[in-house]
């Protein structure tokens, strides 16, 4: 009984303290903290401008390199992705960021993370391998397309023309990495109960789910039997973001900075530095597909 009273008193005291702090305009000070932090960060970046670019957070460095690459003609860029498997902790944040960015429906995934376990106790280890589209320089998926709906664009990224694709899935069959999925027209919300007005109700959430994504810088609202429903879909290195100077969603969300992206034709770029390391490898190199996704092991 005494304990309960003490706890109640404690909570009451805490509430009073918060109230007093707010009353004393402390709220403004607290709210100003993120702005101060941002200002401090911007100041540090400004200083870094004059110093070596390597001092920057890799995200900021890659963003600047991206903007620099965008000054060049598209055909002179060579977008590559480097994934440091030693830094990947298997959080799947990149997978989810990709799903959110591209509003991927059930059964469509661009960047799963392969989770493998090796050894027997006590010598056990796990390996996480994020697997985006490899954007191969010799892609087996493009020549099989009967209507040239999938091809390498001038930046070397393998893209899909949603309005041209007939949905034969020949490209899915041809991909040695299983990097393409087909959109069968499902939605996450269709099984939800109808609860109009509630944030979790189908009416509200379906409105969000049906709203357009912006892959390939085009709006693609989710309308029954309209592309991309019925199409082959795949990772496109977030070209719609890259085009406006933003890094792919999987890169910015990687908490371990394990995923790097940039123009390998820029000798000063982070990715150019990484792809020339001796511990770099690519998946199924023996096939000669020349993937543009490199792994550091």
């Amino acid at each position: 009984m005494t304990e309960r009273v003490d706890r109640r008193n404690f909570l009451r005291g805490l509430g009073s303290a918060i109230g007093a702090a707010l009353a004393a305009d402390n709220f403004d000070r607290l709210a100003a903290v993120p702005e101060q932090a941002l200002a401090a960060y911007e100041a540090a970046l400004a200083q870094a401008d004059e110093a070596n670019a390597e001092d920057l957070d890799t995200i900021e460095r890659m963003r600047r390199e991206l903007v620099r690459a965008l000054q060049k003609p598209p055909s002179e860029r060579r977008w590559v992705m480097v994934i440091d498997l030693r830094k990947c902790i298997g959080c799947h944040a990149c997978t989810i960021a990709c799903v959110a960015e591209n509003k991927l429906p059930p059964g469509v995934v661009y960047r799963p993370v392969l989770d493998e376990e090796f050894g027997t106790y006590p010598n056990v280890t796990r390996r996480f391998t994020p697997r985006p589209c490899m954007q191969c320089d010799n892609p087996p998926c493009t020549p099989v397309c009967p209507v040239t709906a999938t091809y390498k664009n001038e930046e070397g990224v393998v893209v899909v023309d949603y309005d041209q694709c007939i949905g034969c899935r020949a490209c899915l069959t041809a991909c040695p990495y299983g990097a393409r999925t087909s959109d069968f027209g499902l939605t996450y919300t269709e099984e939800m109960p109808v609860a109009e007005g509630l944030i979790a109700g189908r009416t509200t959430t379906e409105t969000y789910e049906r709203a357009a994504n912006f892959e390939y810088s085009q709006p693609h609202p989710r309308v029954e039997r309209t592309s991309p429903i019925g199409n082959a879909r795949k990772c496109h290195f977030c070209l719609h973001r890259v085009k406006v100077g933003e890094l792919p969603a999987c890169v910015t969300t990687c908490i371990g900075r394990a995923t790097m992206f940039g123009d390998a034709n820029d000798p000063d770029s982070l990715v150019a530095e990484m792809v020339n390391k001796p511990n770099v490898m690519r998946l199924k190199e023996e096939l000669g597909t020349e993937p543009r996704v490199y792994y550091l092991v």
Binding site: T95, P106, G107, V108, V109, P112, V113, L114, D115, E116, T129, R131, P140, P143, V144, C145, P146, V147, T148, Q164, C165, I166, G167, C168, R169, A170, L172, T173, A174, C175, P176, Y177, G178, R180, T181, S182, D183, F184, G185, L186, E224, R225, S227, I229, G230, N231, A232, L283, K284, L287
Partner: protein, 381 residues
């Protein structure tokens, strides 16, 4: 009586198929079990099968209209009509499989002719035209000797039938990442499979649906029966060559795919349907002269051979796709249509049954209603 029963079965099959057609055309691909990993399912297997029967029937028709073998006089029109009804069945099956079937015109107007798929669409369309022209010439010739033009059409038809049926094998074989498909033997074996199904179809038709007015009918059936035996033996040898090469190579992806067929989820389709029902029983029945003289039995054996070859096509398609391309891919992300275990859904079966029913009814209506297909006095010599 047999024909009536088959009519009823055909109508029932179409009724069953109505559900599948409705679901596919008005609901979409939600209810299918193929997906992003097992990318091609029952409908693609049936496309390969029906397309094979069509090109095989074209090959068989040349016995009458190109090579003018006296014993087969009068049988060519049945084979050509068989090709005529099975080709649309193939196209319906593959059309249902397309995510955007309304865009099929793009393959004609904006094709990538380096793609084997585009080549097959063009190839089978042209084969369809050749079959139509051949049928028109049959009508015009009224049972007379084939003209030079007719023979030329049949030569074109024969060459095209061999190439397009090999082409569907190449359609799978060019996928270098699917090691079990990527063998030169694959496109080579498809024309043999096609010929076998063409022969089996004609055997079934002659045994079940034609009258006895041709005194050489039993001899025709005997020769077609022996041809079926030979082709089944060749098929089995190819199967042995294919499987043993893959198994002895020891490459895990190959071995896994073959093990899927032999001991995996498709074992019954291979051992029971393809080997026992589709190969061993037909060989036994067709080898024993007393059994091989029973028309009803021979007709049913023809159907068993066809079913066995349909299973064989499926056993080529699914198992190769059921092996993950990368270790860990199967469990990396879960969701509908992201599965390496495939068994056709009710809706997929429904569509396939409906297609079989439509083809059966079309064939029977043709031989009952089309004047040039009705039994005539045209007999073998």
């Amino acid at each position: 009586m047999t024909k009536r029963i088959v009519y009823v079965l055909g109508i029932l099959a179409v009724v069953v198929g109505t559900y599948g057609f409705y679901s596919r055309l008005f609901v979409g691909e939600r209810e299918v079990n193929y997906g992003s990993y097992v990318t091609w399912g029952l409908w693609v297997a049936m496309y390969l099968f029906f397309a094979g029967v069509a090109s095989g029937s074209m090959m068989v028709a040349t016995l009458d209209y190109l090579f003018e073998i006296p014993l087969f006089k009068g049988t060519g029109k049945y084979a050509l009509w068989g090709a005529m009804v099975t080709l649309p069945a193939a196209l319906i099956s593959i059309g249902m499989d397309l995510g955007h079937m309304e865009r099929i015109w793009k393959v004609y107007l904006r094709p990538n002719l380096n793609s084997l798929l585009a080549q097959m669409v063009w190839g089978y369309t042209l084969l369809g035209v050749v079959i139509l022209v051949a049928l028109w010439l049959v009508v015009r010739s009224s049972g007379g000797k084939p003209t030079r033009v007719f023979k030329l059409v049949m030569v074109i038809g024969l060459v095209m039938a061999i190439f397009v049926s090999g082409g569907v094998g190449a359609l799978l074989g060019v996928n270098a990442s699917r090691m079990v498909w990527h063998v030169g033997l694959l496109p080579a074996q498809f024309p043999i499979f096609s010929l076998a199904t063409g022969v089996a179809l004609l055997l079934t038709i002659l045994a079940l649906f034609t009258s006895n007015n041709d005194p050489h009918r039993s001899q025709q059936m005997r020769v077609l029966g022996i041809a079926t035996i030979l082709l089944l033996v060749v098929k089995t040898y190819i199967l042995w060559a294919d499987f043993s090469m893959s198994l002895y190579s020891g490459v895990p992806q190959n071995v896994d795919a073959i093990n899927q067929v032999l001991y995996g989820p498709y074992w019954w389709s291979f051992w029971i349907v393809q080997i026992v029902l589709g190969t061993i029983i037909p060989i036994i029945v067709l080898v024993v002269p007393s059994l091989a003289r029973n028309r009803l039995l021979v007709g049913l054996i023809g159907i068993l051979v066809l079913v066995g070859f349909a299973a064989a096509r499926a056993n080529i398609v699914f198992p190769a796709l059921s092996v993950p391309e990368l270790e860990g891919l199967a469990t990396a992300f879960s969701g509908p249509h992201l599965n390496f275990d495939y068994f056709p859904s009710l809706m997929e079966w429904s569509v396939t049954i409906g297609v079989v029913g439509l083809a059966t009814l079309a064939y029977l209506l043709g031989i009952d209603r089309l004047p040039f297909l009705k039994d005539t006095t045209e007999v073998a010599r």
